[in-house]
Homo-oligomer: 332 residues x 2
């Protein structure tokens, strides 16, 4: 089958190539991919910045498709089912944190940027019927991450003030959509007036351009501070978030695209009783609850652009440059 | 009455002086102080590093004594009662965080380092009968802070691994005692072998001298990491705490004697799903629950040393130099 693998010899580090597939183990299924999508994780892999990188692995965590083959012990009615794939494997029983054997589809296990992917049957969920293939393929990883950040970690309540930073990114778009679905007053930030206009059109209450030198004052004036902030950047902007958090508020970080903060204001954290919380991906229960919310509220992922597999480099570059609003989808 | 006031003209910044008292307002009581105790807050006030410092204010947040006078509307049976004083005023209704009008006894409102103090009657609790006056006077502020850090914020569970840093300090001693009373496996750290020996004698499972260059490895080897860490230092040691926290663990900070961290490892926070939480003092409910635990388990505060009011400078210097194990008590 054709697949996009990591290849450090290539200038683009990506190789669209013929990959040998294998026979199924008991409990596994083969899913014919109808649509896959990119996450920052794929770009970190391309850059060689993800831990335990291996050449030759098929990239991609997000995918939706049709079950075309089942392994021993898998019920026959899975055959021909339209499914989305939970890319989080071996989370374990502890809701607080993933187990030591936790894995994400797409490194080191072969992922979804392929004509088909092999996964354990327990990773499958019915494709939400209100979604196109592209939308379904775009949901899993970022939807899961946003849902856990908002609910299990952030414990968002109806009527609370939510700030989602960096609108346009995959997790951010879902955090905005899920936040609105859960009844929060949602604000979002970006450096792009176009992205902020898009967010406004979606129904976000307040938008902030973090290139404005006075966005912090404006945010506090406009909202009286945030009960919950969902952020994937960290870096020195964490101190800005500490300033716009309401006393008693939470800052949930799912990534650190800006790296480590060079300093944080400790006194403000303890005096204002703030919580800075890390989160990554989510448990099987988080995934199940996320899909239930998406189906109940008929939430449709925002698709930025759809690329063919042979345009993979363009797709990855768009992700790297942060030009997207919504998910970047790849179809075989 | 005689009282210890802040006076920036004095070399010691402390003045043992005659202070005019005032008549009671409705709802207030006068408590004759039998024992008071010091907190880092008093030393911050002496150094002029606390916000809204005013000269002439009677210092001191901790106190226990006898009600000698009641204001209008206060029930007669409060007269002659033996009480401890909750030094947290106007917390408000929100359990998450104190209100904007929150105050702590001893700055800017006159405090407990005096022959008597005036407080609203709702700040009084019965003196625990198993305690001496010195022990009762030592309990309030640090006990409240430790209890909230462990329970409301840290949500400590029986059998969990707890690390309390900086054994010897007031909050740390109570966090160790309350942690053991609540069934946690308690470890503690210090730079002083004497303090660690004292902790061992109290029944602490593991002790770590943070001057040992390999204490982090040792702590992880010995305990498999901590579910909860209670810390009042922050500074760059926060990164050590991030390393010894169990994945999914919490670090609750009630102060920052070492100042701001110059860098924190963001990736470890989100990948390990850690929580860094600030806490300060506690609500009225926290105080009530703290006193209930102390009485149920007959917990006795550790008293470092008892000073007379005219030895106040020595007492404050001992606090500043971190020489104490347990609370530094002052009696009129």
């Amino acid at each position: 089958m054709r697949a996009i693998t990591l290849d450090s010899r290539e200038e683009s580090k990506l190789l669209l190539t013929e990959v040998q597939t294998r026979t199924l183990l008991p409990g596994e299924v083969r899913v014919l991919i109808k649509a896959a999508a990119l996450n920052h994780r794929d770009e970190w892999c391309r850059k060689g910045l993800y831990p335990n990188i291996q050449n030759g692995v098929v990239l991609g965590s997000d995918g939706a498709g049709i079950v075309t083959e089942i392994g021993e012990g898998v019920a026959y009615d899975w055959l021909q089912k339209e499914v989305i794939i939970n890319p989080a494997l071996n989370w374990g029983e502890n809701q607080k944190v993933q187990s030591a054997s936790f894995e994400i589809l797409g490194m080191p296990r072969n992922g979804t940027l392929a004509e088909s992917v092999i996964v354990p049957v327990d990773r499958l969920h019915d494709k939400p019927t209100h979604m196109s293939w592209e939308e379904a393929g775009a949901l899993p990883l970022a939807g899961l991450t946003a849902f856990r950040a908002l609910t299990y970690q952030g414990d968002i309540q109806e009527g609370e003030n939510l700030l989602v930073t960096g609108f346009g990114g995959g997790v951010a778009q879902f955090a905005v959509q899920f936040g609105m679905a859960l009844g929060a007053n949602v604000s979002t930030s970006s450096s792009s007036p176009e992205k902020l206009a898009r967010a406004k059109a979606m129904g976000v209450s307040n938008t902030f351009n973090y290139l404005d030198h006075n966005w912090i004052t404006k945010a506090v004036d406009d909202t009286n501070g945030f009960d919950l902030i969902i952020d994937g950047a960290v870096g020195d902007t964490l101190n800005h978030l500490i300033q716009v958090a309401k006393p008693g508020g939470k800052i949930v970080c799912y990534g650190a695209t800006l790296g480590n903060p060079s300093k944080i204001e400790a006194r403000k954290i303890f005096w204002n009783q703030l919580k800075i919380m890390g989160t990554t991906m989510g448990s099987d229960l988080d995934f199940k609850n996320m899909v239930a919310l998406v189906c109940e509220k008929k939430i449709q992922p925002i698709i930025d652009q759809v690329f063919k597999f042979d345009q993979a480099e363009m797709a990855f570059d768009r992700m790297r440059d942060g030009k997207q609003t919504g998910k970047i989808v790849l179809v075989p």
